[in-house]
Symmetry: C2
Subunit: 223 residues, 2 copies
């Protein structure tokens, strides 16, 4: 497999974590977003949406959208460790948490959106930063409230407290959360008052899979 990706891309980071958790070998193909390499015809023609990451499978298919890629990896490599719980309710919980990051937070803060906010809506630096922090903070507060509800649900069902987003192994939800926290830290978002979220982040970052997938461990991070 080949992963077309960029060290700092949050969606790329999600897939790298999943590949590391599953212990899958892959070729790292850097696509430098700052140099607009994702817009070059060869890359854009591969996927249709010219976004990173893209996973090229061994049988020559190119897959886009990080959550879809992670589900594909899980389905085609079902041997443990699993990236999704074995029950439908657990999977719904994990997917909803992942989508809270991937549909509610991250889309508002990716580079092309920030560019529009600055160029078209004439936001100055302060307004751009306020925009970024607003959506990340708001989204993470909603994430934390969901964790509180899920902790109650688990207690009522007689399940042990979660170590990660859901249960005692990392899932798709953790693959999405951790890159979002990295982004938040880069932009100095206030992360106070999010004890469950940050405890999960710390638990994830104690794992070699997350360490090996992080931006600073990527071959293109020095470029």
């Amino acid at each position: 497999m080949k992963l077309y990706n960029y060290f700092r891309s949050s969606a790329s980071f999600r897939v790298r974590i999943a590949l590391q958790i599953k212990g899958l070998d892959y070729d790292y193909v850097p696509v430098n977003l700052l140099k607009a390499e994702h817009l070059e015809p060869g890359y854009a023609a591969r996927l249709g949406d010219a976004l990173v990451p893209a996973l090229e499978t061994d049988d020559g298919h190119t897959l886009g959208q990080s959550m879809a890629i992670i589900e594909y990896l899980e389905e085609t490599h079902p041997a443990a460790p699993a990236l999704l719980p074995s029950d439908a309710l657990g999977r719904a919980r994990v997917r909803a948490l992942a989508q809270t990051v991937a549909c509610e937070i991250h889309p508002l803060n990716n580079p092309r959106v920030l560019r529009y906010v600055v160029r078209e809506l004439k936001a100055d630096d302060a307004a751009k930063t306020a925009w970024y922090r607003h959506w990340v903070r708001n989204g993470l507060e909603a994430f934390e409230r969901q964790l509180t509800l899920l902790a109650r649900e688990r207690a009522q069902a007689g399940l042990p407290p979660s170590v990660y987003c859901w249960g005692d192994t990392p899932t798709l939800a953790d693959c999405c959360l951790v890159p979002q926290i990295f982004n938040a830290q880069r932009f100095d978002v206030n992360l106070d008052g999010l004890p469950q979220t940050m405890a999960i982040h710390a638990a994830c970052m104690a794992l070699p899979a997350f360490q090996r997938a992080q931006p600073s461990a990527c071959p293109d991070s020095a470029a």
Copy 2:
């Protein structure tokens, strides 16, 4: 089951389509976003993120995030019609198309984002409309390019051309596409030059499931 939703909410519409395709009975509980009923303590406490839709299952669990809900409905009601293909590659294709709408287009245009663009970034009506149309048009163009690539992939694999987003029955991807087209039409987005996308939309809207789920068929649409 109870679906807490709003007739005009695009994410609500996705789930209504899925429920109709699967032929599942549910109670329609209107949550009027214009009256901020989703922010009332009783509703917000239910879900953590105070968004619509929320599905309350018969065993008392409340599920959020439309794509997660649709996957849950498919898993807990696997009898045909299926909302996802039976093979991993097909599912990856469908999920990626769904996420192109749900992660790349819709998050930029929901009411709270438009409100921020107007109130905080001081966008006037023209700038707000331009913002809306830009992201919808850009996203649908990427969607159309993906359909072109997928059509080629199916031809190479000896599969018949798709009638819907992927294959000859509607899937999660169609559940996401159709509400997005409704939104685009409401905001007069230019939909020229998207022949595959619009043919799929027309094919979907010829089906009773999509007709019954559409905003004008909802009990709260007259309110």
